[in-house]
Amino acid sequence: MAYPYTHEREVRMLSRGWGDPASRSLAGWRALGGYEGLARAFELGREGVIGAVSDAGLRGRGGAGFPTGLKWSFMPKEKAGPHYLCCNADESEPGTFKDREILRWSPHQLIEGCLIAAYAIRADHVYIYCRGEFFETNLILARAVEEAYGAGLAGTDILGSGTTIDLTVHQGAGAYICGEETALMTSLEGDRGLPRMKPPFPAASGVFGRPTTINNVETLAAVPHIVRNGAAWYRQWGTDKSPGTKLFCVSGHVNRPGNFELPMGFPMEELIEDVCGGIPEGRRLKAVIPGGASVPVMDASECEGCTLCYEGVQEKGSMLGCASVIVMDETTNIVKQVRRMVDFFAHESCGQCTPCREGTTWMARTLRRIEEGRGRVGDLDTLVELSEQMTGTTICVLSDSAAAPVISSIEKFREDYLALMPGAALAGAS
């Protein structure tokens, strides 16, 4: 049976084998060309692998879009002790549900990617930091790890290459902030997941004080395909600046929500109208959040002509993030949804930085007051000012993330806020 939400315009690379429980097993993954990339990596050598990934132009799928090959090249070439690779499988950005699909449908795809990356950066041990809530998913992954060990694909002398790489599935315990790379490392060390100041950067001093690289699940899952088929093959999809395919997680007001693997640069309107079957009951589009809760909200006019790639969404004033497209139709109460997102950030703030700890709580309270019809016109200026103070002033960017939907929604949906304020029109607000 086909994965429940296929579409003819989809590309089947990362989503190959989804929907077929057989592809979870080692044999099933091998039947799809699995572990050929790993064998090829050992032929290419470390520099060859990093070169291929750089040439392919693969960019990190965890949200920031940092070039993966470049990140790997920061790792020291000389070893004075262990190196580590952390796979970020802590997926918890509201609107994002792609990594879990990779983990539960093609765990070997991720394991193969981890092994190739670990080989390239000379890592001795890979920690796959999995979200605590993913019990079933983690079991599928754990079983695949056992299979890989059993088949000599992990552990000592992998495929007779003389390389030793260990893999450990590490289960978290519920904290959005642990997805932030330095917090992930602190958490992996058995501490509260508090982000750290950079520098030092992870490639110099990461988890357990050793050189470390952190990559997202989707980033690592793309690696076997690139190594096996080459950079030019990968570049057949996408744009010059955003090559390859991307898993688009579409949620909210569409007839067919789900994950769709499409070439980078796919038009947003076609994604919503064609691939996702449009908005229920023919209602009109109101707003889209293109990259998960931490990116600016777009209004319907900005969605026109928007192409979904890093540069395309940036041109429209937002960010592609993890390509978590949240669609909101004309019935949506924007103020309520922004408040709900800010509640989330207030709940997840680790509390180290005052602008973030105090700012998120204050914003949540003010938004709630506006939502309940007790807002004042001055509140909007206060919120904008507060958002500005929360941007660029903290250890990690959770604070900036919380501010983004607030600033952008006040800018684009000011009328919605004012409509909730008694007497705002009379006061000649603007």
Binding site: G95, L139, H170, A173, S324
Partner: protein, 226 residues
């Protein structure tokens, strides 16, 4: 375009993605599909490769608040966990996860035992435990029902589903029903946003849950409780 899932016909109910461990569609996965037969029970809790140790199914059907924590098979599991990390401190969260699974919550005594077992200060373990939201600090019902009300689910009725669970179980948010069966809470995004509303019940995800599904799900759970 001949995939039946892609056809949206005029006047039909909006499309629902067949879910994971959910109650809709032909896409239902059984426990055996997920874990394989050999994963249900038999590997508990000391089997398998140590690389999978921190995530192996110490998911126990019935919590045992009185089980000796770190003896016998559980002791072996701790040793396996310790073998995967360069420091004992790094084993803290996997070991807390194990204790949480076994007991259903983390009490002060559990924290003390964990701290002593790993040679960590008690206050440190308390600090870490309270940081992570998955650790229940008090006993919860046989079924912990966590309903996502974050944005994507919220747009598609998450709050109504939460309200229905509260009404049908006759509880307040976070409270346990008098028969000790159900505790209903609100949860942040479960990474199943395309399958709204997403609900996690103990270790299992239920997806595409609507208000109409609430009563049958509760009946199903009552059946499991026997």
């Amino acid at each position: 375009m001949n995939d039946p899932h892609l056809e949206v016909r005029e006047g039909e109910a909006p499309f629902r993605n067949p879910g994971w461990a959910g109650n809709t569609g032909e896409f239902e996965l059984t426990e055996a599909d997920v874990r394989g037969d050999e994963y249900v029970g038999t590997l508990l809790p000391d089997g398998g490769h140590p690389g999978a140790a921190p995530a192996l199914p110490y998911i126990l059907a019935d919590k045992d608040p009185d089980a000796p924590l770190f003896e016998g098979p559980y002791r072996k599991r701790i040793e396996k966990i310790l073998s995967r990390y360069p420091t004992a401190q790094a084993a803290l969260i996997p070991v807390l996860n194990m204790a949480h699974e076994l007991r259903g919550h983390i009490s002060d005594e559990t924290m003390a035992t964990v701290a002593d077992t790993l040679g960590l200060p008690h206050a440190y373990v308390r600090g870490v435990t309270s940081f992570y939201t998955m650790y229940n600090r008090r006993p919860v019902g046989r079924f912990l029902i966590q309903v996502c009300t974050n944005i994507s689910c919220n747009l598609c009725g998450g709050e109504e589903v939460l309200a229905a669970f509260l009404a049908e179980t006759g509880t307040e948010l976070g409270e346990t029903s008098p028969d000790n069966l159900f505790t209903v809470t609100e949860v942040e995004c479960l990474a199943a946003c395309g399958f709204p509303a997403a609900v996690q019940i103990n270790s299992q995800y239920f997806e595409n849950v609507t208000v109409e599904d609430v009563a049958p799900i509760l009946e199903h759970l009552k059946g499991k409780a026997g």
